[in-house]
Subunit: 173 residues, 2 copies
Amino acid sequence: MKAFGFFILNVAAMASIAANGQTESSPAVQGDPAAAQEIRGWIDHWRKAVSAKDVDRVMELYTEDVVAYDVVPPLQYVGKAAYRADWQQFFYQYDSDLHVETRELHVGANGEFGYATGLQMISGTLKHGQKSGVWVRFTSLYRKVDGKWLDFHDHVSVPVEIQTGKAMLDLKP
Amino acid sequence: MKAFGFFILNVAAMASIAANGQTESSPAVQGDPAAAQEIRGWIDHWRKAVSAKDVDRVMELYTEDVVAYDVVPPLQYVGKAAYRADWQQFFYQYDSDLHVETRELHVGANGEFGYATGLQMISGTLKHGQKSGVWVRFTSLYRKVDGKWLDFHDHVSVPVEIQTGKAMLDLKP
């Protein structure tokens, strides 16, 4: 793991990060380890709220002007009301609570801006009793609003096979 | 369009941005209009290199440690060599040069970090003569390396219909 001009946290490589938040190989790191840690706190709040299918708690974590590119159509959800309806539709499909497993997490932040990227397995039991579990890729962007980190952009997807037009729902990292 | 604690450019709303790079509704904007303009320059270089199917010029725009979530599998491409092979495979499918149209572009940056999100129509003529054109969603992250903006994360995707497992390749913004 390297960091170049920005503080990057990688779950699998925490041990390699020195006390000043820089790896040995990082030139002129100007990122903020405390801010990156706050973003990790955001992700933990998000995971708990999603696991509990609590749409109010989930939506507290987003800006009013959030633009989201979700796994499902349309191409984009513009604004909190549209994204909230998408979350509600998603939660409605499940009978059980959800389980979220995150891997290959990369988090970076400075005083005003943050990001997170990674892979997530979202699993649970659907309304008709079928078990569901899909690995997705996610990229999220954060900014501080009144001293609190909020997500202003989500991009969540699965790869597709262009030739057959098939969604790849059973890939594993 | 609003900007909250970060400078956001929206192609369709440039006229609403005051000389200090802030919209009327933006509190405490700390982003850097010049940096955001540099990111827009990056996007223009990228578009020209992709249009010409010039893999060397495309790859000059990425960091060595780039992690990409592409439209096609696998879940992720880790590192420049893997992502270069993905680009080569993509370019190989086309007989013609490519045309890239970008809409709903959002760009933000400060001194050390930038992002871009938007919709892109990638079109051209495939090897067997068929015309192809697909709207994708993209999210990219940038950092400055030796004074030059490089892309360290791409996320490009199309939505999928979960129930049928079908990729949505004909959506329009």
